[in-house]
């Protein structure tokens, strides 16, 4: 045991969008993660509890939930770090429709990746020689800085602008767009800049930096969005894109 407390008081969201929190008591264990707590409830207390996880090691990005008011990846969040008074409140991610209990519908989140043209547009074919990418160019370093996104939705759930303006593409989709804008092999930048410069695009961001603070991969979507704002504004002023 890491502390004197032997039990944990846990409130879990049950039901759909208009559900409620229900209380459970879970044994406290050493090095216990929030995902361990949810799994304990489902396996020992209520098998009807719905939640989503896969890898349990911070790679797949599927286990994000709202933990004591903040979106977090639950598999890498230790109870000791977040349950200050021996209490945990675990809910579904905000800004996404609740399917049931702790599982949200991520469809809109990923559709926004499509809207932001987050798909690589090749400039060469498989018959061309392999592109030589220098890792120390500013563009490649900017692309590398954002490439580790695991699509967990934490930044999207913590974003005030998404909360106020559902049309907003969100930090994850825009960070993906910024990665591709800086990829010298990509040929889709005009369409991409056009997409992110439209209503609900990068210029809607208020730079509150919640995404940067909450990102479990310590990425900086705010900086990526600021880069997109500059690049799209320059393209607009040059007449390369139209609104």
């Amino acid at each position: 045991m890491s502390g004197p407390q032997q039990e944990l008081s846990v409130s879990l969201w049950r039901g759909g969008q208009d559900g409620r929190y229900e209380n459970y008591t879970v044994p406290r264990r050493e090095s216990q993660t929030v995902l361990d707590v949810v799994t304990y409830v489902q396996r020992h207390l209520d098998p009807t509890l719905s939640y989503r996880f896969a890898c349990r090691v911070g790679v797949c990005g599927s286990c994000a939930m709202t933990v004591n008011g903040k979106p977090r990846w639950t598999c890498r969040t230790h109870v000791a770090k977040v349950a200050g008074k021996g209490r945990l409140e675990i809910g579904p991610l905000e800004n996404l429709p609740v399917i049931k209990d702790l599982a949200t519908d991520m469809a809109e989140f990923f559709q926004k990746w499509q809207r932001a043209k987050g798909v690589f547009a090749p400039s060469q074919t498989r018959h061309d020689p392999i592109a030589q990418i220098r890792p120390n160019t500013p563009a490649r370093m900017a692309a590398d800085a954002a490439i580790e996104c695991i699509n967990c939705g934490v930044c999207y759930a913590g974003c005030d602008t998404v909360r106020w303006n559902f049309e907003y593409l969100g930090p994850a989709a825009l960070t993906r767009a910024w990665t591709l804008v800086n990829d010298q092999r990509d040929a889709g930048n005009r369409e991409r800049l056009q997409a992110v410069a439209a209503n609900g695009g990068c210029h809607s961001c208020h730079s509150h930096q919640s995404c940067q603070e909450l990102c479990p991969q310590t990425l900086n979507p705010t900086a990526a969005i600021a880069g997109l704002k500059r690049r799209a504004a320059a393209a607009y002023l040059k007449g390369e894109i139209k609104i």
Binding site: T161, W164, N165, A197, A198, N199, G201, H203, S204, K229, A232, A233, Y236, L237, I241, I243
Partner: protein, 109 residues
């Protein structure tokens, strides 16, 4: 918000970053010199420079504020984007009308 509105809002903000300090300096000067309204109007009457300076100020402030109000309405009110745009344009129009009225009074009185 889209890139067109963004460029206009940031552009007018950049302009006002220069115009506002000058305006504040003028206020300080006028109060420290204890200038009366008649003193001020005697200096601004018929002046193309003052008309241009405050005309530019009114135009920049009206555009900048209208875009900001549009953002607030689209994010914080249930209005549709188009309706919010018209409301903000009306607000900007009223600001411009009042501002240009004041500028005309300043240089033609």
């Amino acid at each position: 918000m889209n890139v067109r509105l963004y460029v206009w809002q940031r552009g007018t903000a950049a302009l006002m970053a220069v115009l506002v300090p000058i305006h504040i300096a003028i206020i300080f000067y006028a109060t420290r010199q204890q200038l009366t309204a008649a003193d001020i109007l005697s200096r601004t009457h018929g002046s193309v420079v003052w008309a241009s300076y405050y005309g530019l100020f009114v135009a920049a402030a009206s555009i900048h504020a209208a875009i900001g109000v549009r953002n607030i309405l689209t994010e914080w009110s249930p209005l549709a984007d188009r309706v919010a745009g018209w409301c903000a344009a009306f607000f900007g129009g009223v600001l411009a009308l009042l501002g240009f009225h004041a500028v005309i009074a300043l240089v033609l009185t």
